[in-house]
């Protein structure tokens, strides 16, 4: 606990420090080549970070590095989501542990470092810090996308992600440069002032172009249409464990950063960028949901579904409704992350054993593995936004924030799209419960007791969010 200027207890950047230090320690643990140590160690580290992060909840906000980074409730809340997500996801890396891959420690360390990036993205106060955060996160992701070295698809995914991602980063940086040129500031607060009252009116076009370029860069990172083309291929090629990380942590951090950018820095120019963001929202919802319908592979379906969820989260950005939006995005990200980790966790277990990812590979899963089928069903219902699960209230709060600002048409469109989504989320459920298993797939999928436990935790969390949303509906 640090002491602020006023002497009160202030919020720390404990999580960043812990993660960086542990990330390095973890690399050294790799020398032991003992896989039995690595997974528990990583989990303990993440649990510690999660606890230390929550410990700061009631402390006063505090800024670091000449106000480049602020740890406040907003950042603590989103740090909580990304840490928890990783903590719950890591047990599903176990295949790697058993295979005894030599560079396992590196992968864990990369995840820990990328979390540092994610935390910087949710606590930045300065565009440079945003850029550094995005880069830390992205570079780790480029590496892990290609971590299945002998698989051509994984290589393709890494290359595609890296090339497209680099372009996006370049565009983002260009945008930041233009915004700096127009406003003379990197800090969000100063930019906000300059957006409302520019020093020189002739700078305005430059500011606007800079803004748009920044939007493009971040939209790429959160896979919003029309900058989504990389998503299905990269998600499909990347090993499932890391795909889950990409579609939860990266997205959550991306949206937290995007919302802060729009709310704090560019709020004054709302009338200028609302049409753009609105167009992205509608397009993303359409592409994600309609695209998912046509898929035959569950993994690709989940990739498109993650695009569609970016669309729903975008509604929170369009609404730009202060606390309502922030709380909505928080709740939605949490419910979405929990459900997505559960879905990818089950998918990974099944596809590792059956070496397939199409719908038919889930046939009869309810008979062979009732728990896996149940948890996957809960995840699908949550993603579809059906009551009793967290996903329903996620959508409810986001739509509520938008209705509050009068975006009725947008909400109706989103509702129509979520009707479409029920179609593709129900298909794996039908496969699991209503179709008989194919002949060579009557063997139960091997699941360790610990993984079962985590799956149950994920299902329970989804129900808790769906039945008692009041617990977390107003954290900010």
């Amino acid at each position: 606990m640090g002491r602020g200027p006023g002497g009160g207890v202030t919020q720390n950047m404990t999580s960043i420090i812990l993660l960086s230090v542990f990330g390095i320690i973890n690399l050294f643990l790799g020398f032991l080549r003992s896989n039995k140590i690595l997974l528990p160690a990583a989990m303990v580290i993440l649990a510690l970070v999660f606890g230390a992060n929550l410990y700061d909840w009631n402390a006063a906000p505090h800024s670091y590095f000449s106000n480049m980074l602020t740890i406040d409730r907003y950042s603590v809340a989103f740090t909580g989501i990304v840490t928890l997500t990783t903590l719950l996801l890591i047990p599903f890396s176990q295949k790697y542990v058993r295979d005894g891959q030599e560079n396992l420690a590196e992968y864990y360390s990369l995840l820990l470092f990328s979390l540092v990036g994610a935390i910087m993205m949710v606590s930045y106060d300065n565009l440079l810090m945003l850029f550094v955060g995005i880069e830390i996160l992205s570079v780790s992701m480029y590496v892990v996308a290609g971590s299945d070295k002998r698989n051509v698809r994984s290589n393709e995914a890494a290359l595609k992600y890296f090339l497209m991602g680099s372009f996006a980063t370049g565009i983002l940086l260009f945008g930041i440069a233009l915004v700096y040129g127009a406003t003379g500031a990197f800090s969000l607060i100063d930019i906000a002032g300059a957006v409302v009252q520019p020093a020189n009116a002739s700078f305005r076009p430059m500011l606007y172009i800079g803004m748009l370029l920044m939007f493009i860069g971040i939209s790429f990172k959160v896979s919003a249409a029309p900058f989504h083309y990389w998503t299905p291929d990269v998600y499909e090629g990347t090993p499932t464990f890391f795909t889950a990380f990409m579609s939860t942590v990266v997205k959550t951090a991306g949206f937290a950063a995007f919302f802060k950018l729009l709310m704090v820095a560019f709020g004054g120019a709302e009338s200028f960028w609302i049409p753009t963001i609105m167009a992205i929202t509608v397009l993303t919802l359409l592409v994600g949901n309609v695209g998912a319908v046509a898929q035959t592979s569950i993994k690709r379906m989940l990739a498109y579904s993650s695009i569609s969820h970016a669309g729903y989260l975008f509604i929170g950005l369009v609404a730009l409704n202060g606390k309502l939006s922030a709380n909505g995005i928080f709740f939605y990200s949490l419910a979405y992350s929990v459900a997505t980790v559960a879905a990818f966790g089950v998918l990974k277990l099944v596809s590792d054993q059956r070496q397939r990812e199409d719908y038919a590979s889930f046939n009869g899963l309810a008979k062979t593995n009732p728990l896996l089928a149940f948890v996957f069903t809960v995840a699908m219902l949550s993603l579809a936004g059906i009551p009793l699960t967290g996903g329903f209230f996620g959508k409810f709060f986001i739509f509520g924030a938008a209705m509050d600002k009068g975006y009725t048409g947008l909400v109706i469109f989103a509702l129509l799209m979520s009707m479409v989504s029920i179609y593709y989320y129900l298909r794996p459920v039908i496969a699991m419960y209503m179709r008989p298993a194919e002949e060579d797939m009557t063997e139960p999928v091997a699941v360790s007791p610990f993984q079962s436990f985590i799956l149950v935790v994920l299902a329970v969390l989804t129900f808790v969010l769906g039945i008692m949303p009041g617990l977390l509906s107003e954290v900010m």
């Binding site: 309810a366 219902l381 059906i386 009551p387 009793l388 329903f392 209230f393 409810f396 739509f399 509520g400 209705m403 509050d404 009725t408 909400v411 109706i412 509702l415 979520s418 009707m419 029920i422 179609y423 129900l426 039908i430 419960y433 209503m434 179709r435 949303p469 009041g470 509906s473 107003e474």
Partner: protein, 485 residues
């Protein structure tokens, strides 16, 4: 607190059922359902005959948004809770002759469904209502989809999509109304009272009406939203069919009474004539198609479609007689249709067929079955002294008050009903034996245990309808007052 117990007890029992295996599961489920029934009757005994909501519980649910866990029962809710609590144990008992694979899950889903159904009938908060509305859908989808017959996958998928899309429209309406409650700077609320007190313009009511009505119309179902119904009823395992037709269908009618008429009365009076026409079309259409059916179960499904049309017509007649008729007919139809589907199930299990042309001559070997079948059938045809008569009489009276011509056309339902039901009885039960029916055995233990209470209820409602009409009357009068203000 009684309401909360009624809500939570089935789901708690469902969770416990996970630890039971095979026959123990169904016995436990039956025990739980009986406890639930006893508590529901106890609540009915304790309740007073007023329009006041009783056994009320109001706790914050999403406090920041003004959404409460607000449940309670007035007479209307109580009648439907009683119906649910009465039918669920019988439905469980009716399944005893089948060995469903994975029985603990099967019975857990039935109990889980009961929580959803009771939740719908006692919710006094719009979002809570929607919540339970969907909670009731999920178990029935799995019951029908997992344990159903051959074509179940496509059929239940259609059912699920239809109902959930309908209910999303209702959700949209509720969200809209919820924001309307806060329009003059008041704190937003999704409480039913806040919705009743909204002053919406006629235009607003006109389109909000359709959003809400979409959900109810699909659930009941009203022509032309009915296309999922015959297939789903036919393909589902019998307990699921009974739940669907006996109780779930009433969710739609109850929804109209509680959440449609009082909230958008102007919308109802604006669109009422059109809906009435749809209802009447449904009555005639269902009856005519029923005449053509060869499959007993499918025939009952279409007859149910015809009857629900009349109940809906009673609701939209907006007369005291029609509304009270709807209430009593909901009970009567629940009892009749569950009994009829059970008898169809018994016949199919004994003979291996449901095809009317392959059946015949059952009366000779099965006197008890024949008598019970005939009583239930005559009650469905609305013979005086039976449950069906009271309901249909009041309903037709209500529709007649609304419009003479519609009343006359709707009255045809009784004639057509007699045609298709008696014709079925004649061909299935009378006449010469067929190869399928020669060695059929009469009713035994658990079957009688299901049918006797149903028959008793048929006569109770038929002879003393006042027992139930008295419970619901104040609540219905209050709804009428709100509609007419």
């Amino acid at each position: 607190m009684l309401t909360v117990f009624l809500l939570l007890f089935p789901v708690a029992a469902a969770l416990l059922l996970h630890f039971a295996k095979g026959n123990a599961a169904r016995v436990m489920a039956l025990g739980a359902a009986l406890v639930e029934f006893v508590v529901a009757v106890y609540a009915a005994v304790l309740s007073q005959v007023t329009a006041q909501t009783q056994f009320e519980v109001n706790l914050p649910w999403v406090a920041s948004a003004g959404i409460n866990f607000h449940v309670g029962m007035d007479g209307l809710s109580l009648v439907l809770v009683l119906l649910t609590a009465f039918l669920v144990p019988l439905i469980i008992l009716a399944s005893f002759r089948h060995d469903y694979p994975n029985a603990s899950a099967f019975y857990a889903l039935i109990l889980f469904m009961q929580t959803g159904l009771i939740g719908v009938f006692v919710s006094l908060d719009a979002f809570l209502f929607y919540f339970f509305w969907e909670v009731a859908l999920i178990p029935i989808y799995f019951l029908a989809g997992v344990w159903g017959s051959e074509r179940r996958i496509a059929v239940t998928f259609k059912f699920f999509l239809y109902t959930i899309i309908g209910s999303l429209f209702m959700l949209a309406a509720f969200v809209y109304l919820y924001f309307q409650t806060g329009i003059h700077g008041a704190v937003r609320s999704s409480d039913i009272i806040a919705f009743y007190n909204l002053t919406l313009s006629s235009d607003q009511q006109a389109w909000v009406f359709w959003l809400i009505f979409a959900a109810f119309a699909v659930k009941m179902p009203i022509f032309p939203f009915h296309t999922w119904q015959p297939d789903t009823y036919t393909e589902s395992p019998t307990p699921a069919t009974m739940l669907l037709s006996g109780i779930m269908l009433k969710m739609g009618i109850y929804g109209c009474l509680r959440w449609l008429l009082p909230i958008v009365p102007k919308g109802v009076s604006h669109w009422g004539p059109l809906v009435m026409v749809l209802c009447i079309i449904g009555i005639i259409y269902g009856a005519i198609i029923a005449i053509r059916q060869r499959d007993v179960k499918r025939l009952i499904a279409y007859s149910s479609l015809s009857h629900v049309g009349l109940m809906a017509a009673g609701v939209f007649s907006l007369t005291m007689m029609g509304l009270q008729g709807t209430v009593i007919q909901m009970l009567a139809h629940g009892v009749n249709v569950v009994g009829m589907f059970f008898i169809a199930d018994i016949i199919q299990r004994r003979t291996g067929t449901r095809d009317i042309s392959e059946l015949g001559g059952l009366t000779k070997n099965t006197p008890a079955l024949s008598v019970t079948f005939l009583v239930l059938l005559l009650s469905t045809v609305a013979l005086p002294l039976t449950a069906g008569f009271v309901g249909e009489f009041l309903l037709l009276g209500g529709v007649y008050q609304y419009n003479h011509w519609m009343g006359a056309v709707a009255g045809v339902t009784i004639i057509l009903g007699a045609v298709y039901l008696l014709r079925m009885f004649q061909r299935v039960m009378l006449g010469p034996d067929t190869q399928f029916t020669a060695t059929i055995k009469d009713l035994t233990g658990s079957e009688l245990a299901v049918l006797v209470p149903l028959i008793l209820m048929v006569f109770w409602i038929g002879l003393f309808p006042g027992t139930f009409l008295r419970i619901s009357e104040p609540a219905i009068m209050q709804i009428m007052t709100i509609v007419n203000r």
